[in-house]
């Protein structure tokens, strides 16, 4: 399953998933939230940690560890379940997390702009989806790569995604 950045480009995934192992992973790994406190204590040299947050996780649960992790993978069990959007936004706006926020699970290319808009920086493209669709979705269909325009309000207040989060 390819990983893409916020512009639709395929990027290398340096992370392994360690959701079930009980041992201390030797390489940089994305681990379950409940194992995070323990694993932060046993850091082999140069190894970094990321955390997997199932849908419905409240941001407060991960806040104590934010400055010690590099990746937060937010789960979308079903593309219709929009809780991940608010979770990402809270992590960026209220808790000033600057690392990678990755969308994993059932997401659709049609949701790409929204994902980026709330602060996701990468998307793990689900099995069976064409990667190009994601890049395509950022421009107008049949518009020869033309960027989407905004209504007046959007132009007046600017876009959160363009403004950046800090």
């Amino acid at each position: 399953m390819p990983l893409i950045d916020s512009q639709g480009r395929v990027v290398a995934d340096h992370w392994t998933w360690a959701l079930t192992e009980t041992e201390c992973p030797a390489v940089s790994a994305i681990v379950p939230l409940e194992r995070l406190p323990g694993l932060l204590e046993c850091e082999p040299d140069g190894r970094r940690l990321g955390v997997f947050l199932p849908a419905g996780t409240q941001p407060e649960a991960v806040v104590p560890y934010l400055d010690r992790i590099d990746v937060i993978a937010v789960e979308f069990p079903k593309f219709r379940d929009g809780r991940g959007f608010s979770l990402a936004r809270s992590l960026r706006e209220h808790h000033h997390f600057h690392g990678e926020i990755r969308a994993v699970g059932h997401v659709l290319p049609d949701q790409y702009a929204a994902l980026v808009g709330v602060g996701f920086t990468t998307v793990q493209v689900p099995e069976g989806q064409a990667v190009e669709r994601w890049a395509d979705s950022l421009s107008v269909p049949g518009g020869h790569g033309k960027k989407r325009v905004s209504q007046l309000f959007g132009r007046l207040v600017g876009h959160p995604a363009e403004e950046g989060f800090d």
Binding site: F79, D81, G82, E93, D110, A114, P141, Q151, L152, R155
Partner: protein
């Protein structure tokens, strides 16, 4: 031996089809196969394949029997599907001689209406809508090719207002805060003629619905609408829906804040909102700027009452967690006086709490009203306030410059300087009792001297509430140009308004409305019935609404009698989802299904105004044959108890439900 038929909608055009011999789908139930238990297994296999091939959707199995050798489904719903709407026997399968649709060619966009009460788009706003239409075109293509499953496609078609109903697709087009220009009305008439069956249905949420579009045509329809700055964005789906308001906005004499500017800000803010497009459930916001709440704000997910303090500064009273549907609840007040710069920050805080915590495990408990109730209102308010306090005020600040820029897009009608009132209108009233009667019910005072707002009733006696033909739409557009600066409003009571009519031209307008069937003097009277489409069209309905509305309207056809009874709001819904707002009707009627027979439950004492209340069920449901008599008995009882000047609802509030219960069940046991 039990038998069944298998029905579905054809994906590309939505037409109802049945599974016939050899796995073929046929358009008429006469050609359908009757499957026994053994045959049904093969039928389902065949239907599953047709779904995988992107040929049909929404496969339904229904018990059926042979009647005169032909298959006949046993449910009311499926029987209506074999024929078409029972209230329009000229449409659908029941009319074999239905004329073909005209071909769309070379339609010129109607001339603009520069003084109408709408938000005026610039070229980028318009391009945004065109792009949306093209995006949907691409999504439709992906659906037809099978790249998107129906499950994946559904939210996107809903976000573009497209439902799949009993007889086919239904397209719901937004009329933002009910404001429509003559130009836009003409374009709606064009869409009705070319892509539909020559009419549209105005709804209780200030939308218009077309009942017969084909999926493959919808991108073209959206493109056509985009040329006149209207769209179907977020008229369905689990997102922020069309923001509704007072139909007399910008005209009413009692208005303190024109709600349209804030409604338009909410519309643009919520369109494609990155965070709030996949909420637990739909989300409806209403805003009103007059002391008399004409937008039922306490019955919305968020309700806003705009007012001014002594210094003239605007403040918002904020409500949340109201709604009708299965569990009707009057909203909780969150703030007495929210200041303008904090408006969007507060709304976002409410939505964020809801998006994070609203239930997603049970569709019937997913609305914000259930969250507020389950959390207890104090706790919910606490969470919203906590979120609000954590949000950066500057980032979310609604600047005066933004408000001014949006407000600048609204035209001010070039009102003439006129006397406060016209002797000529008074003379007309004295000379013409028919006109006088219409003025009494169908007008509303205007803030501008010499002007008045005129309500065009879409409730002719025996008609279909809210329906307007393409010809009527064009005619109303002409009258709006002639008498009301090209400005038209759509009310949540399913009527139209010409907001700015000169009093000395009112008689002329009234005379023109008569021949069009648009001068029924019944606004707020017993025949001004709110009704959802019900089982004649809707896939969710459990009973028909329109035929009951028609029979009631005919029973009370005598205008003298209607005027004698006075103000009564009678609302009918065809199912518990309450699109007909039955809970807030002074008299509410809810259609239910009892063993495949339509029954109607009556509630009394509902209200959507500043004394918002949910109606009380009077007792067991009435058969379709009895329900009209029961309403008549209720009104007779009211007349018997009425004291000077009391409206129905006043009498009800004074004497309670008992006297009504007694007379109704004494007569209709």
């Amino acid at each position: 031996m039990s038998l069944s038929v298998v029905s579905a909608n054809r994906l590309r055009d939505g037409v109802a089809v049945w599974l016939g011999p050899g796995g073929k789908w046929v358009e008429r139930v006469e050609g359908a196969s009757l499957f026994d238990a053994q045959g049904l297994a093969d039928a389902h296999e065949s239907a599953a394949k047709a779904q995988d091939d992107q040929f049909v959707v929404e496969v339904t199995e229904t018990p059926a029997h042979a009647e005169l050798g032909l298959p006949m489904p046993e449910t009311v719903r499926e029987r209506i599907r074999t024929r078409g709407p029972s209230v329009r026997t000229d449409l659908g399968k029941q009319n074999r001689a239905e004329p073909p649709r005209p071909v769309a060619n070379g339609h010129a966009t109607p001339a603009p209406s520069p003084h109408a009460g709408i938000y005026f788009y610039d070229e980028l706003d318009r391009q945004f809508l065109r792009d949306r239409a093209e995006t949907f075109r691409a999504q439709v293509a992906r659906r037809l090719s099978g790249e998107l499953s129906e499950d994946e496609f559904r939210p996107f078609r809903l976000m573009n207002g497209l439902y799949l109903q009993l007889h086919g697709y239904m397209l719901r087009v937004a009329i933002p805060y009910g404001a429509l220009s003559a130009q836009q009305m003409r374009q709606l008439a064009y869409v009705a003629r070319v892509y539909d069956k020559g009419y549209g249905h105005f709804t209780t949420r200030q939308n218009i619905q077309f009942n017969w579009p084909q999926l493959v045509d919808v991108p073209d329809i959206l493109k056509t609408l985009a040329e006149v700055d209207i769209h179907a964005i977020q008229t369905s789906g689990n997102c922020v829906r069309n923001v509704t308001t007072d139909q007399f906005a910008g005209a009413a004499a009692d208005e303190v804040v024109d709600p349209r500017v804030f409604a338009e800000i909410l519309r643009q803010w919520s369109t494609d909102h990155p965070e709030f497009t996949f909420l637990p459930r739909k989300f409806k916001i209403a805003i009103s700027g007059a002391p008399v709440d004409r937008a039922a704000v306490r019955l919305h997910d968020i309700g806003v009452l705009a007012h001014r303090d002594e210094t003239g500064e605007i403040g918002f009273e904020i409500y949340a967690g109201g709604g009708l549907g299965r569990i009707p609840i009057v909203a909780t007040k969150l703030r007495d006086c929210l200041r303008v710069p904090d408006f969007l920050r507060y709304i976002e805080a409410i939505l964020r709490v809801y998006n994070a915590l609203g239930r997603r495990d049970n569709i019937h408990k997913a609305r914000i009203k259930i969250l507020v109730r389950e959390m207890k209102p104090e706790h919910f308010i606490g969470m919203v306030e906590e979120e609000f306090a954590a949000m950066d005020p500057e980032r979310y600040r609604l600047d005066q410059a933004v408000i001014d820029a949006i407000a600048a897009r609204f035209a001010s009608p070039p009102f003439a300087v006129l006397p406060q009132s016209f002797e000529v209108m008074e003379c007309d009233r004295r000379a013409d009792p028919g006109f006088a009667r219409w003025v009494r019910t169908n007008t509303n005072p205007h803030k501008q001297p010499g002007y008045i707002s005129a309500v065009i009733s879409l409730k002719p006696i025996g008609g279909i509430p809210g329906d307007a033909s393409a010809d009527q739409m064009d005619a109303v557009a002409d009258l709006a140009d002639r008498y009301s600066f090209g400005d038209i409003r759509v009310t949540h009571e399913q009527n139209l308004v010409l907001p700015h009519v000169r009093q000395d031209e009112l008689h002329e307008l009234w005379s023109a409305l008569g021949p069009l069937g648009l001068a029924t003097p019944n606004v707020n009277l017993i025949s001004d019935i709110i009704a959802c489409p019900g089982l004649d069209y809707c896939g969710l309905a459990t009973a028909r609404s329109i035929p009951v509305a028609q029979r009631l309207s005919e029973r009370f056809a005598d205008l003298d009698r209607q005027h004698h009874i006075g103000e009564v709001h009678l609302n009918i819904s065809g199912c518990i989802n309450a699109c007909g707002h039955h809970h807030i009707g002074h008299i509410g009627i809810l259609g239910v299904d009892k063993n495949d027979e339509e029954y109607y439950q009556i509630t009394l004492g509902g209200a959507g105004d500043d004394k918002a209340s949910i109606g009380t069920i009077i007792g067991p449901a009435f058969s379709s044959a009895d329900v009209v008599d029961a309403v008549e008995t209720i009104l007779d009882t009211y007349l018997e108890y009425r004291q000077d000047g009391e409206r129905f609802i006043d009498t009800y509030r004074r004497i309670g439900i008992a006297p009504f219960k007694e007379t109704v069940f004494a007569t209709h046991r």
